[in-house]
Symmetry: C2
Subunit: 348 residues, 2 copies
DNA sequence: TTGTATGCGTTATCAT
DNA sequence: ATGATAACGCATACAA
């Protein structure tokens, strides 16, 4: 049961033309008489013919798929809720253009570069999305050499022939610092991501600049973005000689872990310590106190990245797209600076 | 620069045989003289020939890819940290067998069934992994009709021709309930996932059975697995006439949200209320109090699911695989039942 | 044991 | 301007 689906040869035979002409008619290419084209399309329609994606892939050299590689060293990042919304955004775009997203993860037996090489060697994808850009990121040269189209999330710090889609993370961090400054905080800290990651670095620099500009004393601690390292950084900051009255975290998970550490230390948030996160995750709204956080539209980011990559695959010139600035959502975890820290006075 | 890669025809010519024989030699098929085979393989090796995956896909009818569809209605689940480890496990297996994981998400413009249909129509995948099984899950019949191989996570409640890989969620829940019973709790609650999802239902039933078996009074509240609904369920339970002294949550996110609600209500955890989670996420270790939680090995689950699916694609008979039981990790969020609730006595 | 023909859609090349 | 033909790359049923 179930006869084989019709092929282009069946259509050609029934329409009394050659295979090539059917292909031309289907793809709206010139050189086909309009009445012939109409007849071919009619026959194809009534036979229910659809071109085989595989045969198309073979003859065109494209795969109609794009790749997203999750690096082993960055799998803490991959655990970031950001990715879910981002992928949903990619699918918003891909689902209407017949593309497919191939997810590849570096594994214990296959390093990041090998993963890209494997995708390219088998021509499994037409292009890749590069997330979590690093300083002097080697992947840019790598994908060049592999002949893959690419789009980067954020602007690389090295020469790039590829399109980029970026969000000004720094603007979100600066908004957080200004918010704290207005609340009277004079000594603020930043629990940063790895400085080798461009977006983590951008946040760190924005933090330092804005703090300096507002006349605040600032300190930064570098982490790997994990809840564990966020907790450890918080211990360090709180246990120091001159603890800050506010901590700006580079993601919500670390901020939530920081809330835990503060509680353990007997500090009240926000009475003794103010805390801000980044990503504005759902969970941040339901912890106590709820989390003041910087929100970026990850889904839109995914949509635009997908669209931009498809344009690159289609041969369009590289472009640099900049998305809307992130916004700060103020909740309960930030409040006026405690009196003890305000200008050194102790009024109580 | 860059001459085209050698094809099977180049190898055949250089080895002085036909294309078909090269193919036979490469694929270790019988009917090739051993010296001929050796010569062919040697020539192929020195020419650096590798078969084109696309040509192979076209002629074999396989795509060397498997799909994971994230349903729109279940994207709360997709936000579950479980998925990251699970996908990593899949990649552990796929990366050594040259398979690729295609991630497809239902979108506003493409429902779940359409997503499967699209993958099958274009023959983009050889098989799919079905997660979050539902009662009378329509996807089983759907993938049958589409001719896709499949493996289900958990055992379906309807007839299935497919392999399954399952974990006894109930054992984890029962361990949690026993733990609470030993701590003296007499009135326990369960914040369950959607009862239409088999694993959520299994957890709920296990909870009720174990509670009844231990002589505990129990109550269940159904949610959609989101932090928001977990918080709402907690409000309902705490604000009721006879609030429980312990709540067993069906995932960590809801449990963490529940901690927030308890705090807001002025309840101390675990002194006034004990709380358990499910998934044993990293974040659960760093909130305060740290979360007692049920841990499953999601990565191993991914590995076995991938392996089982590949076996099914290879034509092996369906099999039902059962993984190790989940374990309960006890942390700070569970403690002795408060005196007020212990058998109705008030000793204080 | 080995060679040949066929399938699949696109496109460069050729023939009207 | 319109249309036909062959080649692409691999596997495999079939012929020799």
């Amino acid at each position: 049961m179930g006869e084989p689906p019709p092929t282009i040869a069946d259509v050609a035979r029934k329409a009394g033309v050659s295979k090539g002409l059917v292909s031309f008619a289907l793809n709206d290419r010139p050189g086909v008489a309009s009445d012939t084209r109409a007849r071919i399309l009619e026959v194809a329609r009534e036979m229910g013919w659809t071109p085989s994606l595989r045969a198309r892939a073979l003859s065109t050299g494209r795969s109609f798929a794009c790749g997203l590689v999750i690096g082993r060293s960055t799998d803490v990042i991959a655990a970031d809720p950001f990715f879910h919304s981002f992928i949903a955004g990619i699918e918003d775009e891909f689902s209407v253009s017949g593309q497919v997203l191939v997810l590849a993860a570096a594994t214990p037996g296959r390093q990041e570069a090998e993963t890209y090489r494997g995708l390219a060697a088998d021509k499994r994808v037409d292009g890749v999305i590069l997330t979590d850009l690093r300083a002097g990121d080697p992947r840019l040269r790598l994908v060049d050499g592999l002949g893959l189209a690419a789009v980067t999330l954020g602007v690389p710090d090295v020469d790039s022939r590829h399109s980029s889609v970026s969000v000004d993370d720094g603007a979100g961090i600066r908004a957080a610092v200004r918010h704290l400054a207005h609340l009277g905080h004079r000594r603020v800290a930043h629990v940063a991501g790895p400085d080798s990651m461009l977006h983590a670095r951008a946040r760190r620099i924005a933090f330092q600049e804005e703090a300096a500009g507002s006349g605040l004393t600032s300190i930064c601690v570098e982490t790997d973005f994990s809840a564990a390292s966020g907790a450890a950084a918080t211990e360090t900051l709180i246990g120091g000689d001159t603890p800050p009255s506010a901590i700006v975290y580079s993601n919500d998970h670390m901020a939530i872990a920081g809330l835990g550490v503060a509680r353990r230390r007997g500090l009240s948030v926000p009475d003794d310590l103010s805390v801000t996160g980044f990503d504005d995750t759902e969970l941040g709204r339901y912890v106590n106190p709820s989390l003041t956080s910087v929100a970026t539209d990850a889904r839109e980011w995914g949509r635009v990245a997908a669209r931009t990559l498809l344009a690159a695959i289609a041969g369009e010139a590289p472009k640099q797209v900049r998305l809307a600035e992130p916004s700060l959502t103020v909740r309960e975890s930030t409040g006026p600076a405690p009196t003890e820290y305000r200008g050194g006075r102790r009024d109580r």
